[in-house]
Assembly symmetry: C2
Homo-oligomer: 748 residues x 2
């Protein structure tokens, strides 16, 4: 080689080296930034909640470091050792990386490096995971989803030690571990990566996070816009029955952000999965904000991510537990790890809403970054305002025109009614059009069953969805809504259900004494329309507000209609007679009925039935208008459940046979209390004397309610015209009523 050649080589090497160096000096830059770390380090010791979180995390990670690093050969489903160990590893590594930055103690960097190199040594020759249930098997885990979780966290860990590693070390990790890992979950699994689904969101974010660490534009493009030619056929489904590809579908992170969120921030799969999805959405959007603010990912779709945090917090009960819409595990709450991230980011990047500080206080931890520091600082300086949840009506669908969900609340969440008139909710949706659930002070009164899955409990089917999720939890009869002819909505067919949504007739929460929502469903049963209006009413004769439920059904044919109420607690009294069978048998053969035992069957002697139960030390009475031919069924879950996957929960079901058009008019009334300590039973009787349907035709439905104390109410709903300015004038029992707007309440 001549001198010129050498010079040229030197120049090229220098440029390469400079490029590597400039790249190297960008780290950390995803979530932690150089200036953020600086600010954190100068604040240490003066911000209690931040300091406390840091202490807790340090203690946790120090204990892990003592335990040693384990990267077992993948073998188990979730709940099993190898699954849980690898899951723990990426969580621990991310935290250790943060500690290295904040405490500048090399032991944390070494720990992350050593773990990554153990993975590097293993990954090169790692086959696909031995468990076969998933439509997209991962390598470390049984599904690519969990592999993507790993990369989302490990990219952050890598970012924190990037500059501390030698270029050779980085090259080795990137070539043997990170790049093949990212390619495996994307290019090699397009059926996982290129969907509109929370799975893909994780995959996209994983690839994107790595792309940002590596400053690799190709990976970032792949994250934002998906794989261009994925070769997938439209109509493919995954192992949960969800669509993999539909005609004309976009892909990538931005499409996943556009599709499932409505403009109000409602996530179509429901809050349980929103909680899960929020982490990759926010963490990658934040990383983009830090690295490529010009793309404005955090502000995409009118700042829907910030609205989504607010929407999600509003979809929780008084204890912060999420309402059960679609597949959802009970007990998941805004105290989860993902919501700590969401709340801190929403506070810092979303306008410093002081009510979020109140949630952060309940969470009692912050993220160890600039956002968490800001939250802890402002909490410490007393800036928090009480977090108040009001009634809300949230639209569903990318453009907000695919139905929605209403939460009607009274007082300080004394009573919260959740009314669902959404689209199907992708593969996690249930066949439960116009269903509802009811909460008093954070306790379920009338429940939504949730999912049938023991998440991460290995003994229960590897912690995955159990078959009763399909045979029970998704079926219509598992919900507090109408079942026609013992068949689920859309005949339980996902492809059909996915095409439709219910639609709002009207919603009004302007007056605390009557808050009301009304929606219609016209597709669940071809030829049948049902229209449900639910109101929360406060009346001076009642100690607490009550719920009025008007379910109007219109059909071209005569059908059997079942309307179940899944009460939680102990039956206390009924005003009707019933017989209890000597042997318990299943109520039906399919559509969920095969899981219900019939514990009692009665009929009404009167045109009103009352059913009183005691739950969570409070009394509740259901009063319903009935025909004497109606069957009153007492049900118990648990039939055909040989593995004991279902809870033995009770239900009360109204069955009306051989009817085309009808109204189910009911009052759900919370009253009184019982204390096992004082043994005082207060106000244990209903205050409803009678409810009558005084008019029901195409245009109007009206009910009259009389109270035990002699009070009276008349509610009229306009069934066809919901215009606020529309004037109505009708006669009922020779009295004329005039009003404007879709409903009218007269109180005596």
């Amino acid at each position: 080689m001549n001198n010129k050649g050498l010079t040229k080589l030197f120049l090229v090497a220098s440029i390469l080296c400079l490029s590597v160096m400039s790249q190297a000096q960008n780290h950390p830059g995803l979530i932690l930034t150089k200036s953020g770390v600086e600010e954190i380090r100068t604040s240490l010791g003066s911000v209690p909640l931040f300091d406390q979180t840091l202490r807790d995390v340090k203690e946790e990670i120090d204990a892990e470091i003592t335990t040693g690093i384990y990267t077992p050969i993948p073998k188990d489903y979730s709940g099993g050792y190898t699954h849980e160990r690898h899951k723990r590893n990426f969580i621990v590594a991310q935290k250790a990386g943060v500690l290295f930055q904040i405490l500048q103690d090399e032991k944390y960097a070494k720990y992350v490096r050593d773990m990554l190199f153990q993975y590097e040594a293993m990954y090169k020759d790692l086959p696909v995971h031995p468990q076969t249930r998933s439509y997209a098997r991962g390598k470390l885990f049984w599904q690519c989803l969990n592999d993507s979780n790993w990369l989302v966290f490990m990219s952050q860990a890598y970012d924190t030690i990037y500059e501390w590693l030698s270029p050779n070390e980085r090259q080795q990790l990137e070539n043997n571990l990170f790049r093949p890992f990212a390619d495996f979950i994307s290019l090699e699994n397009p059926q996982f990566y290129n969907r509109i689904h929370n799975h893909s969101t994780w995959g996209n974010a994983a690839v994107g996070m790595l792309g940002l660490v590596l400053d690799d534009e190709e990976l970032i493009e792949r994250a934002l816009y998906g794989i261009e030619n994925d070769g997938l056929e439209a109509g493919l489904k995954d192992n949960d029955g969800g669509f993999i590809k539909v005609e004309g579908q976009k892909a990538g992170f931005l499409a996943n952000l556009e599709e499932p969120f409505s403009p109000d921030g409602y996530f179509t799969e429901g809050p349980y999965y929103q909680r899960y999805a929020m982490y990759p959405f926010l963490i990658f959007a934040l990383a983009m904000h830090n690295k490529k603010p010009e793309l404005a990912v955090l502000e995409h779709k009118n700042g829907v991510l910030m609205k989504a945090v607010t929407a999600l917090l509003n979809l929780s009960d008084a204890d912060g537990e999420f309402f059960l819409l679609n597949d959802a595990q009970k007990g998941m709450s805004y105290k989860s790890r993902e919501l700590v991230t969401a709340v801190d980011i929403a506070y810092y990047y979303g306008g410093f809403n002081p009510q979020l500080l109140d949630v952060a206080k309940a969470q009692n931890q912050v993220t160890l970054d600039q956002a968490g520091l800001a939250v802890a600082k402002d909490l410490h300086s007393g800036k928090a305002h009480t977090f108040i949840k009001k009634s809300v009506n949230l639209s569903d669908g990318p453009d907000g025109n695919q139905g929605g969900v209403s939460v009607i609340r009274y007082g300080n969440e004394d009573l919260s009614l959740v009314f669902k008139y959404t689209a199907h909710g992708l593969s996690h949706g249930h066949y439960d059009k116009l269903s509802f659930s009811l909460f008093e002070h954070g306790n379920e009164v009338l429940q939504d069953y949730g999912l049938v899955r023991f998440v991460n409990i290995e003994q229960k089917g590897g912690g995955n969805y159990l078959k009763e999720n399909n045979t029970w939890a998704k079926q219509t009869v598992a919900h507090n809504t109408l079942v026609q002819n013992e068949t689920s909505h859309f005949n339980g067919d996902y492809a059909t259900g996915s095409q439709y949504h219910s639609f709002l007739h009207f919603y009004n929460d302007d007056n605390e004494n009557i808050q009301i929502v009304s929606a219609k469903e016209t597709n669940a049963y071809p030829g049948t329309e049902f229209h449900r209006t639910m109101a929360m009413i406060k009346h001076h004769d009642f100690e607490k507000p009550f719920v009025l439920d008007l379910l109007k059904v219109s059909s071209k044919r005569k059908n059997q209609y079942d309307l179940p109420f899944y009460y939680l607690g102990q039956m206390i009294d009924t005003n009707f007679d019933y017989q209890s069978p000597q042997q318990l048998q299943a109520l039906g053969k399919s559509n969920g009925y095969q899981h219900l035992y019939l514990e009692g069957k009665g009929s009404a002697a009167d045109d009103n039935i009352q059913f009183t139960w005691l739950g969570n030390h409070r009394y509740y009475t259901l009063t319903s208008v009935v025909d004497q031919a109606d069957e009153l069924l007492l049900t118990r879950l648990g039939a055909n459940d040989p593995k004991f996957n279902l809870r033995r929960d009770a239900g009360f079901m109204l069955r009306r046979k051989n009817t085309s058009n009808t109204v189910f008019a009911s009052i759900i009334e919370p009253h009184g209390s019982y204390s096992p300590v004082t043994e005082l039973s207060l106000n244990s009787n209903s205050n409803v004397d009678r409810i009558n349907v005084v008019r029901d035709d195409k245009h109007y439905t009206a009910v009259d309610i009389k109270t035990v104390n002699g009070g009276q109410m008349l509610l009229i709903v306009a069934n066809t015209d919901a215009n606020d300015s529309k004037s109505h004038r009708i006669k009922i029992s020779n009295k004329t009523y005039k009003w404007q707007g879709p409903f009218f309440l007269k109180v005596n």
Copy 2:
């Protein structure tokens, strides 16, 4: 009349007047005393918990005064309006009287006076209560018991306004209301008054309290010693099946104090009724202490009343809820009104135990008297010590020789085992010899069902005992103990069961790593002896302590033995196969079996079965040695329960047929946890590899336990000689073991 006559009359009148005056100047003197009131009044404003309680009570009573005074004509059972109103009245009047003394505001005295005169006007002509269920119907209430409650409280109220009333007013109240009232519940109802029973304790205290207000020696005598010639026949029973009179029975308050309490302070009916009975015991003993200290009622029977408070507090779980021994409603706790009185009295008159202050703190209120003031003062000055409950072994029976109850605790109530080997427990006893229940951190792990009664809930049988209390709750199969041939202990016969008790073999809590109790029952099934040894063991291979349960049965005949375990929670896994029936049928026809559905039936492929469940977010595994012929039954409560009076609780039952002598050897092992928020499932598998019975004969039973981690334990129990100093030497598998005392544990 001459002068002499007039002088004489004047003298007599003066003496009478002086006597009335001197009597009048003794009031208040029962619970509140003149000097006590003085001390309270000078302390007002400086003792936070006292001031707070006073504020709360004032607010409560002021609201009542505004509402007005209602003394409706008696009509209802408990839970009904008239019952609850009269009950509320006496509670309110007592508090109003206290407020009058402390605040010296006459409105409270007027309120009490007016209420008493409403009663006076009504009582004169009041017939016996119209409801007929009780063996001793009251006048204001359906049973004399509640009338006695009334008088216990009203005597205190009367005492507080005694001096404020005119002599005429007093005379009118005493002649028309108080004296006839006391006579009605005693002289006119000896079958109620002259028993050894908590009913009579209330009756005795009621008469005695009035006697002390009136300084009436006859009434005081009647209270202390009962009615001399009651004319009752031995063998009479009440409406709950309890004996009214047995041969040679004493009567009165002192006899009631001597009989049901053991020298350790255990109350034979169990803690739920002890809680109820403590109030009249303590309040009358305290009134006697204040009025007639020379009789030393508060110190009677070696100060058993003070020991009883300690015993009662020790019979509660980590949340202060009482263990369910005999008839008992779940949720009753030391936060009840009665225990506030008990704790404050025990503190002030029983030696100022600083741990009691910790209980008072949890109660968050004090009594408005000297005792309560002392508690509040000492709490305020920081004298409280943490209330620590240790393992205890309490004898039953007046002389402490009728069996007993052991509570074995580990750590800070991490695990609490309640083992019952008592006498029958009077009319509230259950047929549950050698049964047990288990708690972790205040949550039930293996439950005692409690009672079948919705106390004070009118709709449920007037709030009284329901028939399922006899057909289910009292039956042996409702408990975690042995049932022979599907028949309850003593064939469910109260007269027989009342003659016997189990007896202690040994108890030892000296070593935290093995705490152990062993007791025998030889009368429940004639010809059969059963001997149960339960140990709580901490071993280094286990995250938490576990319970070892050895139930040795020896019979002259071959029998069927059932051993149920009433777990609370969701079954997670079994290592045996079972079949689930298509229809649920009752397991039997009587003795409680008619209330159990059979949900599954299996058999073991191995000589160890494992059954794992998840309850309260924690895992538990039962490991048992079985024969392959054993039936493994999965049960569910609720058969033959048309009124829905029973909870639908689960059970697991071992059934061994056609056997005379056998050992049921089981391990109950708490392990791991599950969080619905983090969704982490930790340590969900048992750490027991195997348990074997390696020796079982008349003299010794030995089990060998192997852990999954390779650890090993050998426990040997000496079945015949429980002497601590006895030396033993036996061979098992050619190895010789030598030790001293009734048990031996070898750990590897």
